[in-house]
Subunit: 348 residues, 4 copies
C-alpha cells in the first residue's frame, strides 16, 4: 500500500509499504479522508513529540473517515464496507480507569499515529490501517468524509465542555481561536452556554470566531479587560475553557473567573510550571480541571453533527491528495490562515 512515512523532522515521504493485517478482534480499514492535527504538525516539525521519540519511521494521522475492508478473527461488526470514523485511542477496557468510565486515563492506551508506544503505532495517512473493532463508529449518510474526519477534534471539544460540568445558561469564555477553540466554542453554544465569548490575540481569529459561533470576541491583550468582563458578566465567567496553550492565558483566566467558577485546561502548555494564584483559588472556591482527549463521546459527536446543530464545514481550509502529504503538512503549519487541512487518501 501507499503511505506517508515520517522519516524525521520535515521529512515525510509517500512510499510503498506492507499492508497491515487485522489480528483477532481487529479490523482492517481503507482510509478515505484524514485530517492533520496539531500533534501531527509537531512531529513533522521536530521529528518527535516531546518525550515521544519514534524508534523507526512511522505513519502519522488519527482523524479520519474509512471503510471497513476486512475483519479479524472473532469480529462480526461493523461489517465490511461500513463507512466509519475512529476513536484513535485504544484503551485496554479492563483496568480501573476503563471500568470506571475514564478510559482516556488508561495507562495502557495505544494511540494511532503516535510514538507514545515503542515501536510507534502507524496511523491513517496511508491507504490502510488496523484498529480494534470497538474503535469504529458508524457514520450516517448525513456526514460526508470531510465532516466525518472532524469527529476526533470535535470529540476533544465535547469532552472538554463536559469536563466543565453543565454549561447551559452559563457565561462561558473560550481562550484561543484555533480549531479546538472554535470547536469548543461551537459545542459550548450547542450545549446552551449564554453568552459564548472567545478570546484570541490575532484579530483574524476573533473575526472568525464571531462567524462561527461566539457571541463576542475579546482581545486578551487589551487594557482593562477585567472591567470589560465585569460589565458583561457581573462577577466573571462561570466557565473558562483554555484552548490556546498559552501560559499567560491560563494565568489570566483566574482574573476573569467568577467565584465558584471552573477553568478547564485543554491546550498543551509545555513542561515548565506555571505560576498560579492558588490562594485566590482557595478563597473563591475556583475549580481548575484538566481535560485530556475524550471519553465515550464519538457517537454523541456524530449525532450532534448529523443533526445540523453544528456548522463544521468552514473549518476545512485545505485539501490535498495523499501524494501531496508534504504540501498538506506545510500548509497546516500556517497557523494564521489554516484551520483544518485534510488529506484525501481515497477519492470517493
Amino acid at each position: 500500500m501507499l503511505a506517508a512515512m515520517l522519516h524525521g523532522a520535515r521529512d515525510i515521504r509517500v512510499e510503498s509499504c506492507a499492508q497491515p493485517k487485522p489480528g483477532p478482534g481487529m479490523v482492517l480499514l481503507r482510509v478515505r479522508r484524514a485530517g492533520i492535527c496539531g500533534s501531527d504538525s509537531h512531529y513533522f516539525a521536530r521529528g518527535d513529540c516531546g518525550p515521544f521519540v519514534p524508534t523507526r519511521p512511522f505513519i502519522l494521522g488519527h482523524e479520519f473517515t474509512a471503510n471497513v475492508a476486512a475483519l479479524g478473527e472473532g469480529v462480526t461488526a461493523p461489517v465490511v464496507g461500513t463507512r466509519v470514523t475512529v476513536n484513535p485511542a485504544r484503551a485496554c477496557g479492563f483496568c480501573s480507569y476503563c471500568s470506571s468510565g475514564r478510559r482516556n486515563l488508561c495507562r495502557k492506551t495505544i494511540m494511532l499515529g503516535s510514538a507514545s508506544t515503542k515501536p510507534p503505532t502507524d496511523g491513517a495517512f496511508a491507504e490502510y490501517v488496523t484498529v480494534r473493532a470497538d474503535q469504529c463508529h458508524v457514520l450516517p449518510a448525513e456526514l460526508d468524509d470531510t465532516i466525518g474526519a472532524m469527529m476526533e477534534p470535535l470529540a476533544v471539544a465535547l469532552h472538554a465542555v463536559k469536563r466543565a460540568g453543565a454549561v447551559s445558561g452559563k457565561h462561558v469564555l473560550v481562550m484561543g481561536g484555533g480549531p479546538i477553540g472554535l470547536l469548543t466554542a461551537m459545542t459550548a453554544r450547542a450545549f446552551g452556554a449564554v453568552p459564548v465569548v472567545l478570546s484570541d490575540i490575532v484579530p483574524a481569529r476573533r473575526k472568525l470566531a464571531l462567524d462561527f459561533s461566539a457571541d463576542l470576541a475579546l482581545d486578551p491583550a487589551v487594557k482593562h479587560l477585567s472591567e470589560q468582563v465585569s460589565s458583561l458578566t457581573g462577577d466573571g465567567f462561570d466557565v473558562i475553557l483554555e484552548a490556546s496553550g498559552a501560559r499567560p492565558a491560563l494565568r489570566q483566566a483566574f482574573d476573569l473567573i467568577r467565584p465558584g467558577g471552573t477553568i478547564v485546561q485543554i491546550g498543551t502548555l509545555g513542561v515548565e510550571d506555571v505560576p498560579l494564584p492558588a490562594n485566590h483559588l482557595m478563597l473563591r472556591e475556583i475549580q481548575l480541571v484538566g481535560s485530556f482527549r475524550y471519553g465515550n463521546v464519538f457517537d454523541e459527536a456524530i449525532r450532534l453533527a448529523a443533526s445540523g446543530r453544528l456548522n463544521l464545514r468552514p473549518l476545512l481550509t485545505g485539501l490535498f491528495p495523499l501524494a501531496q502529504t508534504l504540501d498538506a503538512m506545510k500548509q497546516a503549519d500556517d497557523k494564521t490562515n489554516a484551520l483544518k487541512v485534510q488529506i484525501e487518501v481515497t477519492a470517493p
Copy 2:
C-alpha cells in the same frame, strides 16, 4: 459587659464595654466558651489580617458556644435560654450565590470577629454578642461547651471533604497536621476514606495524627516519597486535602495524586503565585479545587459529633478564663504544642 478588646498587635485588653442590642431578626447571645482560630492568632500577632485592617479596636472570636439571651424584633426561635453554636459567617440569603446554595461565596457576608467589614464586626471573646437568628444551631445535650465550640473548625473540615466529592472507599492524603488537618483527616475517615494518610514535617504532629484518626503518617521531606506512595496506593492518592498552607506542599500534591484525582486547597497560602504543573494537570485530568469556610454543614457537624463518630476532645490543649485572654492567645501561638486553646467566658 466585659470583652477582650484587640487594640493592636499583641495588645488585647479585657475591659468593660457597651453590651450590644439585637436589632430586627437578630438575637443576643451570652457566650459560654470560645476557641482561638489561626486567624485570631494572625490578628493578635500583627494587628490586622492581610488586607483586613481594623478601623477601631474590636473583639475577636468566632468559634463558640452560647445561650440565647434575648430576641430581636420578629424572632421567635431559638427561644431564650437555648444553648447554641453559631455559624459566624452571615451571608445575605438572597444573592445568586446564596440562592444557589453557595453562601460561603456571598460577597455581602458579615463575619464575626473580623475586620473584613468597616467598621470591624465584634466577635465572641466577650460576654455578649449578637447574630442573626438563623446563624444559631441548637446543641444537643451530648455536646458539652468544649465540643460545641469546635463545631466551627469541624465545619471547615466537613466542607473541605465535601468539596473533594465522595471520599468513601478512596485513598486520601491530608497535608498538614494542625487542628484543621486533624479534623479533616478525622472527617475523611468518618466518611469512609480508606486509607487516611496524613503528612507533616513535624514528627510530634505525625505521631498525634496516628493517635487521632490517620492510618498512616508520612514525612513529606523524606526522599523517594513518590515510590513510598506508589507502593501504598498504586497510581497515587485519589484525593489530597492540602491543609498546611505550605506552598511546597501544594506543589508536592501534584506528584502524589492519581490520574483523575482531586486536590483540595484548604490552607491559606499567601498572595504570591505558586508555580504549578498545569500541563501535568491537563494530561492526567487532575482537579484542583478551592475550599473556603463552609456551606450549610453546621447541623451535620453537630449530628456527627453527637453520634460519637468523632473523638474531638483531645484537640483541646488549653483553657483560660476570659480575664486571661492574653495568656490564651500566647499559648495558642505555640504551634508545636498547642492545638485548640479555648476561653471560658461564662463558667457553666
Copy 3:
C-alpha cells in the same frame, strides 16, 4: 386599583380594590402584562386548587412583566421604573432547603396568586402587586412584555431539564405538547439534546411541536411504539421528561427509557397512586425524579431568551385587556387551540 378578583368557580370580576403597600424589604410593582397558567385555569374552573381552598376572594396571576413603582423600607434595588419579571415563589431564604440551594422545596414559601396560604396571596391580574425585592429580575430591552411574562413557565422548563442532569448529546423524549411540554422541548434542544422527540395524542400538537423545536413527534397511542423507539434510539431514550400529567404517560415512560436513564415527572398527576414497574426500575437502574417549580433560574431564562436561542413568540395565542380577564380565562380553557393567553394590564 383595578383587579380581576376570583370570587368562586367561573366567577372572576374586574373590580376596584385597595392598592397594596410595600412593607420592609418589599417593592410595589405596576403590572404590565400577565399570562394565564394551568393552575389559574384550575382555580377558575373550580374555585379552588386541590387542597388549596381560598378563605376570601383573591387575585390570580403569577407570570408577569411589571415596572417597579415604589420601594419598601430598606430596599435600594431595583430602582423605581425598572422593568422586571418576577419569581412568584417567595422562599424564606434561611431554612435548610434555602441554604442548600433548593429553595423551591422551602416549606415556608409564599406563592403569588395562590390559596396555598391563609388568607390567599394576591397575584398579578391587577394594576399593582407587592413582592420581596429579590423576587424581581431585571428585563433587558431585547425582551418585550410578551416574552418577559413567559419567563416563569420557561423557568419551570429550565428547572425540569436541569433535574434530568446533563441532556447534551442525549436522546430526549418530552411527553405532552402543552405550553410546558413545548418549552421543555425547546430548552432540551437549546441544551444540546439530540434528538428531541415529543409525544402527544393530539395530532395538532404533534404538528406544532415540529414547528417549535422537536426533531420528531410521536403518537403515544400508536401500536409498536417501543419498536419505533428502538430503531431510533437503540436501547431507548436517555432522558424522558413527562409534562403531560397523564398517568398512562408516566407508565409508558418506563417502556421507552434506556437502562440507566432518567425520567423526570413535571406534570401534575392527581393524588391517586400510579402503578409503576419498580422491579424494572431496579434491574435497569432507572431514575425517576420529581421536578417542582424552579430553583435559581430566572436570570438564566432571561439570558437564554434574550440571546435569541429560543423562539418563544409563537406561544402567545391570545391577548386581552384586564377588563376582559373573564374572556381571557375562557379562551385559556380551550386546550386544543390555546397555548399561552395573556392579559394586558397596562398598555405599553
Copy 4:
C-alpha cells in the same frame, strides 16, 4: 472434579464432572469458600429464577474465595497461586455501558452460577471454575476466606449506597434486615451516615441490626411511624435504601422521605407494578433510583473490609463442606435465623 449440580427444584447432587479449561484471557480458579445468595436459594427452591430457566443441570454459586490454578492464553496476572475473590458478572468491556463506567448495565454480561445465559454458566459450588482474568480481585492477608467470600454481597451494598449519592452526615433509613440490608446499613455508617436507622418487621432482626451497625431499629408496622420519624429527623430521612423487597416497604418509603430525598430500590420486588405516589414525588422532588449489582467496587470493598472499618464476621451463621451442599441450601432457607451460610469447598 466434584461439584454441587442443580438438577431441578430442591435437587442438588454433589457429583463428579469435567473440570473446565481456561480459554484465552481466562483463568482457572480452585475454589476455597463460597457463600449462598438469595438467588441461589431461589434456584434451589424452584429450579429456575423467574425468566431464567436452565436448559441443563448447572452449578450455582457466585460469592467466593479461590486460588488461581492456571492461566489461559495471553494472561499474565494474577499469577498462579494468588488468593482472590471474584466479580461474578463478566461485562463485555466495550459497549456504551461499559465504556461509560456502568458495566453492571452491559446487555452482554455473563453471570457465574446463573441461567441468564443459554446454556447456563457454571458457578463456584465446585472445586474449579473459570473466569476472565480481570474478574479476579486479589485478597490481602487481613481478609480470610470467610470474609473474602462476602465481598460480593458487600459490593451490592457499596454500590447501593453510592447510588444514593453522598450519605455522609445524612439521616439514612435501611428497610429490611437481611444480609444485604445489614451490609447496607454497615456501609452507610462507614460512609458517614448519621443516624443509620433500620426497619424490619421481625423483632430478632431489629435486635441484630442494633448489634451490627444501626443507631436505631424501627418496626415498620407500628402505628404513627411517620410521627416517630418526624421527631427523629424533622422532615424525614434524606436517604432510604429499600433492601427488603417488600412492596409495602417501597410504598412506605414515600411517607418517610424528606423533600428532595432519595429512595434507592435494592430488593427484588416481583414483576407486578407497585402503586406509587408519583404526584407526591413530583411536588417534593423525590428521587427514586434503582440499584443493580455493582459497578467497579470490589477493590474498594476489599480495602474497606481489610481496614477493619466493618465487622462482617457475625454475618456467617453456617458453614458446610461441599459434600453437604444440600444441607447448606436448606439451612440458608431459614430466613429467620440464617444470615450467610457458606460452603467450604477446599479446607485451607
